[in-house]
Symmetry: C2
Subunit: 269 residues, 2 copies
DNA sequence: CACCGTTGTATCTATGCCGATACAACGACG
DNA sequence: CGTCGTTGTATCGGCATAGATACAACGGTG
């Protein structure tokens, strides 16, 4: 493990950590902090002091980053004030990109998710159909993103084949809730996965609520076999009001196949 | 930056790397590979050899991980075959969790996204309303889902205030496309953000297509000021057919506020 | 009881990153 | 022309992690 989390000032608060990788060089939170400090101080020297880091190291780190990501800091020595450094536009783009990645990661850690287990029924390009306790669902399998990994792990990678046991991950923020009575014409939308169920629980936040919907098992599966299946949906409190949701209400939920991730399941023995 | 739509141009280079963090200990791809190798070999010694790593280090690494994540490997010395090790159930859960995180990360790197820039108009709990070139949009900011904070980097991290410049990130997999003529009753769904536009481009994959929709600027904004705004939507090729989409067609797009992330924008000078 | 291969444990060394320090080069400004 | 604070560059030691090696402990099996 070569990452630079060494110093005690590590986040450790989030449940995950992300880093961009390009040209074999990782861009992580420490690098982001460095660039931001350069932006604030107007010089690499000032940034290093503000962060309590070595100035020489900060400079070489910036050079390492620039070898992989292109010009990031416009440095100028001599002149007014002895010189100084400014962020290049591409550095701001990189920071924004990193922030978005971090935001997505923080979201996946904090937003509820529903994980169903099933077996792959069919594969058609990037989409696979999975048989789950609540019926057939379709979603994207790994091929969509290559293997964003370092030193090849297990080799389980992205490959998914018919018959494999997989996890079906559905982010609560991808699930839309519809009034069961006022069902949307399925031909008018691009959201394909659709289930009926009843509201089992509403966890109200300030302006966002997590609604859990108990879904009936598909034909041929006994409730006793699979237990109750709850799908979480994250919707605004306003929407809860507008739809007049309360525990026990019948609802129809819907989410896009392209917002559904299929992940190989670690073999159980 | 006058280009308000983000990384459609982003080459497939933008890879990321993820790690789980618990108790100050990171669980990354290297650790995942180790656990999987233990599962395959039936012993830590065999796993270390298969990976070309030091056996002693592998053992101490597993102990370090177990201090943070609980029992992961059931080790037994002596006996048949001299002993051996098996993965504990919690280790399989951890691997599954890591795989899901990795899948989400890989997806954010490979799925198109739309990034709009705007200023925060109002904040109400976890939801904020942002004024963008295409009108007001609402989305989740910072600590979505009541998570504490991401701690570490930058310092400007999660906090968003009224008047701040922010990026509005909309994953293409969160956008649903509706037939403009056959508009959905807005009261029947929990998807709030809604825009009208015309299909500008369809990038057909094998079974999944990226559709770009050109959206008209909101009232009071000139097209010449903001340029064309394209929103990307990832939908199945089947849905493209079903909706009969072709460039120039008027469509209505819609996505949930809870699937929209607000990220502070790095200051430009 | 000896054998076997594994789990534990300890120690030494190699490596890589970081901080610390020192010094040269630079160029506007007074 | 000297001052100033910065950017470059080089070197040293500290520290954490990994590999290499060695040896004891363990407990079925023959």
């Amino acid at each position: 493990m070569r990452d630079s989390t060494g110093s005690g000032a590590d986040p450790a608060a989030g449940r995950g950590r992300a880093a961009l990788i390009e040209g074999g060089v990782e861009f992580d939170g420490r690098d982001a902090a460095l660039l931001r400090a350069v932006d604030a101080a107007g010089s690499v020297a000032g940034a290093a002091e503000a962060l309590g880091r070595s100035r020489a190291r900060a400079l070489t780190r910036i050079e390492t980053l620039e070898e992989a990501y292109g010009t990031l800091v416009e440095r100028r020595r001599g002149g007014e004030g002895g010189g100084g450094s400014r962020l290049a536009p591409s550095a701001r783009d990189l920071l924004d990109r990193y922030d978005r990645l971090q935001a997505v990661l923080a979201a996946t850690a904090s937003v509820p998710e529903t994980v169903l287990r099933g077996t792959v029924e069919a594969i058609d390009g990037e989409i696979a159909v999975v048989d789950t306790p609540v019926g057939e669902l379709s979603g994207l399998h790994g091929g969509a993103g290559g293997e964003g990994n370092d030193g090849g792990d297990g080799g389980d990678g992205a490959a998914v084949a018919v018959g494999d046991a997989v996890q079906v991950r559905i982010g609560a923020d991808a699930v839309t809730v519809n009034d069961a009575a006022n069902a949307v014409d399925p031909d008018a939308t691009s959201a394909r996965n659709r289930l009926d169920g009843r509201v089992s629980e509403i966890d109200s936040g300030e302006t966002v609520s997590t609604v859990r919907i108990e879904v009936e098992p598909a034909d041929g599966k006994e409730t006793s076999d699979v237990g109750a299946v709850d799908v979480a949906a994250l919707i605004t409190a306003e929407s809860v009001d507008r739809l007049g949701l309360a525990p026990g209400d019948p609802v129809s939920i819907r989410w896009k196949a392209t917002a559904t991730r299929l992940v190989a399941q670690t073999g159980r023995r």
